[in-house]
Symmetry: none
Subunit: 131 residues, 4 copies
């Protein structure tokens, strides 16, 4: 359970936590039913405020990535939970388009980009289906 949070980034701390948890789940580093560090534990480990961790955990629960059990802690969800929100899909589509254009301006070719994507999917391994 190593988290890598950078307060200098413009992405909010709680979002960075969300991203990392989802990434670790997708990669199989965090397994279903595995216990996450408690809010207080993680917050002191990261040297950030407990509320910030709490906010991240609540959002992760809302997305179905984790479940919290009263008085016991938070755990990775048993089954992988996909959400079919059309608003979200549209948003993803938009940001993908934007990212491609930005990459174009940054001098990244289509081939390079495809290669990157391939690598991310490789890292996620078979977890894309079974998790």
């Amino acid at each position: 359970m190593y988290f890598n949070i950078d307060p200098r980034k413009n992405t909010p701390l709680y979002e960075q936590i969300i991203h990392q948890v989802k990434e670790m789940c997708a990669k199989g580093i965090l397994l279903p039913n595995e216990k996450l560090p408690s809010v207080r534990e993680l917050s002191s480990q990261m040297v950030i405020n407990p509320n910030t961790v709490s906010k991240a955990y609540q959002e992760l629960e809302r997305q179905g990535v984790i479940v919290t059990i009263r008085g016991r802690g938070t755990f990775i969800s048993e089954e992988f939970h996909q959400t079919y929100d059309p608003r979200l899909v549209e948003k993803l589509k938009q940001s993908l388009k934007q990212m491609i254009i930005d990459s174009h301006y940054a001098g990244i070719s289509k081939e390079e980009l495809t290669e990157w994507i391939e690598k991310v999917y490789e890292e996620m391994g078979g977890n894309s289906d079974e998790n």
Copy 2:
């Protein structure tokens, strides 16, 4: 020159303008040396604060997408200006990774994603290489 700005989105208005200008350039809708509307024109047309447009133009100029000629107006840069900032590349890589993971959670398959990408590059036409 049609701008499609939505103030309800979480992306700031000035960024949306930047994105659209870059997109139109990439797609060949805006051509090198073409004149852009003035800050006042555009802001009244979009019913937004002139400062917002101004901020977008300033950032676009900083990125080398447009140039302002005092007393004449603002124009699309003559040559396509690519920036090889390694920090930017890393940032793009990160957000691409995150987007793939989010897409995974949104139930979007690798095939769908690849299809989307293909479509964006098609829209950009030959401009992706030569421009």
Copy 3:
């Protein structure tokens, strides 16, 4: 005596137990004077803390649903015990209203809702009037 407790729900465990006992009484699964499992039995069967079961039993006794006889155990009350607390009625009215509104937002029509209600009363059978 099958209890269906889910620690992942936001409703506290002890409330879930209360609900289930009351439900089983209303449906006629638990009959007047029937013996309930002891606190220790039930807690080990459910793999939860004995205090939690104890709290549930205490509340059920306070509501007149069950009675504890020292040295003999706990039993379903002989007669159905209704409480005419006006504050409780008001509270129920409020939460009913809220539930209807939430259902409305969840895309549940009035017809569907009425159907659900009908089904619950059916499950409760004749017990709804006479018990």
Copy 4:
């Protein structure tokens, strides 16, 4: 815009705000595109902390009830947004069942309950479809 918040209730303040906004929308007291009081305004009017109001507004936005426009404020959504979350539906079903059983214990007959429901839907008027 009158809010009626009771800190003595066990329902959290931010939930009470959420409920009231949704209720006012359903009843047609708040109309699409109408502006809500700003976070600071409402918090000082209710004599509660701005963060609490902010939390309520964020949840309402997540549910699609309101939209926030950067630097301008928050507004009732243009179109009524229904969410088809199966988890939510199941939750509503459960709490409906529980409410019926509790009503039964509180001495409320099926007829009374049905009457209550009828009254709520009347208050919502035609807004159930068009809003």
